[in-house]
Symmetry: C2
Subunit: 258 residues, 2 copies
């Protein structure tokens, strides 16, 4: 199983949008996909219209029970979103794990243990992170083989990126892993001169980690979240669906002919 | 001095953009404005082009020295951004305050003490918050008379808003204050049907707290951040400058004729 964390300290760059739609694109390519939501906001469940009042167990139950005789397996908490596409939802109570944490190694490798212990088999696991450099994000980065950093084609992204890449690689190394970083331009509006300039700058300065695939700004992606459907279902012919298909293929290394 | 916290658990809704540009609009209306950046990302300084390598002291120095014989006054750390417009910058080390915090009342009222103790006189203080419900945000909410919650006209905003209003009012009450909440629609694109529908829904469900003023999506606001200038300087004739002027006047209760 390939584990991909979607992380950024910057808020609103599209972590949840990428987690939901990239996973759907993987499933469309025949991969068994799992999304794990490590953000107490729980927007993955909202974005795929899970009935929140019916979510009894969340990833927190797995994390907190890890290593005990009553360990909760992932399979006991996941919901099916679509064929070959499951979601392990977050809960607001996840923030307690963040508040109580003392930053010990054990606390930051709980998710790694949960993913290693699961009886279910997936080809790819995508982890959504909160916009806060804390214990929940560290759990995700240490469990990951790859880290996807969505960036807006705006000034703050350009400013923050070197520090973020360094910080994420350092945390992953604590977990003994050499992670691969993918920087994904998101919400790109080709008609805006500033966006074109920022994208060119990103491509030049971060050539070794930036993806060819770009996710354009597409209102259908916002609408999909409103109707609780990944873009592959909500608008399979849209530019959003095309962009996520191209990104999924690129990450799976099946370079497309186009 | 009126103290206004700009807060949201949701990332990327425009907290920093509102802090920088609303304060500039207040200054343009003749108010002496102070921006306090409580987000370790420190994007307020980036957005007004302060030379980061020259920022020696930050709001952290004031917070940590509060109540000691060596208390650092706000006047010792503020930078002038424009006439009648000062910034008390954040620093990355602010996140230590978040990590070490045990959530005691004393830890969450440090900023209130700093603002009460300052020798400088301002008419309005605007506080930028990180997208994380922790000690730094609690300090801002407890120091505030009013809380501005920027919302995107998207689905997650509608879903989160009731919980956020309740949570923010509860924290402010802990500080013994009755705060006034202002919900400000931001990044509004009138051409999008979904946005029009969400705005109508927001206006109906949150009639008592939503502002008349709406901040439209305006690329000049993104560009301004890139050139380190508030919209009042970067593009004084733009829709962004108009929108922030209208919002500033509405919050100062000088209802405009328009
Ligand atoms: N490519 C895109 N085109 C159009 N809208 C997008 C795109 N990517 C994200 N969005 C919208 O931008 C907003 C922010 O995206 P999202 O919530 O996924 O970001 P996030 O990084 O998960 O935020 P947070 O930091 O709060 O977790 C949402 O309204 C989402 O629908
Ligand atoms: N009205 C607007 N029109 C155009 N762009 C906007 C507008 N408001 C905000 N933006 C842009 O949206 C992005 C997110 O805004 P901003 O960084 O202010 O959000 P934030 O809530 O402070 O994010 P964080 O949660 O990371 O602190 C930035 O690129 C900013 O320039
Ligand atoms: Mg998210
Ligand atoms: Mg901000």
């Amino acid at each position: 199983m390939r584990t991909i964390a979607i992380a950024s300290h910057k808020g609103g760059v599209g972590k949840t949008t990428l987690a939901i739609n990239l996973s759907a694109a993987f499933a469309k390519l025949g991969k068994r996909a799992l999304v794990v939501d490590m953000d107490p906001q729980g927007h993955c469940a909202v974005g795929v219209a899970l009935p929140e009042d019916r979510i009894e167990y969340s990833i927190l139950d797995c994390l907190q029970s890890q290593g005990t005789s009553a360990a909760v397996d992932l399979s006991q908490i996941t919901w099916q979103v679509a064929p070959d596409y499951d979601l392990a939802p977050a809960s607001p109570a996840l923030s307690q794990l963040e508040e109580r944490a003392k930053g010990t190694i054990a606390e930051t490798t709980l998710l790694t243990q949960v993913l290693n212990a699961t009886t279910r088999t997936y080809d790819v696991c995508v982890i959504d992170c909160p916009p806060h450099p804390g214990t929940l994000m560290r759990n995700a980065l240490k469990a990951a083989d790859e880290i996807v950093i969505p960036v807006e084609t705006g000034y703050y992204a350009l400013h923050d990126l070197p520090g973020q890449i360094e910080a994420f690689e350092a945390i992953a190394r604590e977990g003994g892993r050499q992670v691969r970083i993918h920087v994904v331009p998101n919400q790109y509006d080709v008609r805006t001169k500033l966006a074109r300039e920022i994208l060119a700058e990103l491509r030049q300065r971060f050539a070794s980690v930036i993806t060819n695939a770009v996710i354009n700004f597409n209102t259908k992606l916002k609408e999909g979240a409103c109707y609780g459907q990944p873009i592959t279902e909500f608008a399979p012919g849209s530019s959003g669906a095309h962009d996520f298909g191209a990104l999924a293929r690129e990450l799976l290394h099946e370079r497309t002919a186009s």
